[in-house]
Symmetry: C2
DNA sequence: TTTTTAGTTCTGCAAATAGAGAACTAAATT
DNA sequence: AATTTAGTTCTCTATTTGCAGAACTAAAAA
């Protein structure tokens, strides 16, 4: 037991870089490292203790991190008959999900801006209102194009 | 002095909603409220004390918040001859800037994923590597389309 | 020249976050 | 029946964050 816990320098580096990137997205450090490890890992099946040892995390941090990533659909695991361990791997579709979530967020923001715009329309300062309108148009454009890009990609995949 | 500090209920509501939205983007609460206030404000010229009173913030929080927003180009101010006060307003282009920044971030993420992919290519697990390749293609597509949308918008504005 | 105005900067604290470590649990092994 | 495995959950603490309040400053007004 305990193969697989040695990472190359390059892997180590990529885990930290990816970890930092995810931290800037608001992820907590340990969770970001677990995610990064599972993205970089080639075996596709790391156990609880592999993760714990590779990242030098406490059991609680490992457990909570794994739980959080499972609950949000970022990772998954397989099991093997006659073996109580879980073998974790990243769900690569998480990136697609993340991008779609960002898109949804942008739509919300657009809706909010529209509310602000409509309120401002009633007031006197037309110039400010018009600047806002410009941005709303831009966001609308983005919101329209986004699903199209998604479609284009789905088609591309099928070929 | 001290006109302009009374907000309508609708404005109050929009400030809080916008504030919360900005908090989810990682902004600190007080800064998010100042930004929201200046987005919602129709006068286009709120003073330090207007902001302080409208949001019931301490002087330090107001000062630091304003400073941060000025430094990051999110707001600006005008002055009036024979008047020491600064009159603040939102730089509406901040939204465009924010979206472009998100785009840059996505490009960084794509580059990182490519690094991970290239590393994985050397290893045995081709299936995982291929899934990753799919996502990279998708991100590349997005990265290509993004500038085009921006251009389209710029043209639209000119008409 | 004293006071007021329009802030900035410093000090300190309350709350939130992040994770370690210990205690616990439930199934499987010995 | 006792121990090991594969975790989970609880308790506690160090660090960070976010902001209030007080002290300070520099220009303008009285």
């Amino acid at each position: 037991m305990m193969e697989n816990t040695t990472l190359t320098d390059k892997q180590q580096e990529l885990i930290e870089k990816t970890g930092v990137m995810l931290e800037t997205k608001g992820w907590q450090p340990a969770v970001a490292r677990i995610m990064a490890l599972l993205l970089v890992d080639d075996s596709g099946e790391l156990t609880f203790d592999d993760i714990r040892n590779s990242l030098q995390l406490s059991k609680s941090a490992t457990s909570n991190g794994i739980q959080l990533l499972l609950n949000t659909g970022k990772i998954e695991y397989i099991t093997k008959t006659g073996d109580r361990k879980r073998y974790f791997r990243s769900r690569i579709s998480m990136f697609r999900d993340m991008i779609i979530a960002e898109h949804e967020k942008r739509k919300e923001m657009t809706a909010l801006l529209k509310e602000i715009y409509e309120m401002r329309e009633d007031f006197k300062n037309k110039k400010l209102a018009n600047n806002l309108k410009d941005i709303i148009n831009y966001m609308d454009l983005l919101n329209e194009e986004f699903p199209k890009i998604l479609e284009k990609w789905e088609k591309m995949k099928k070929q």
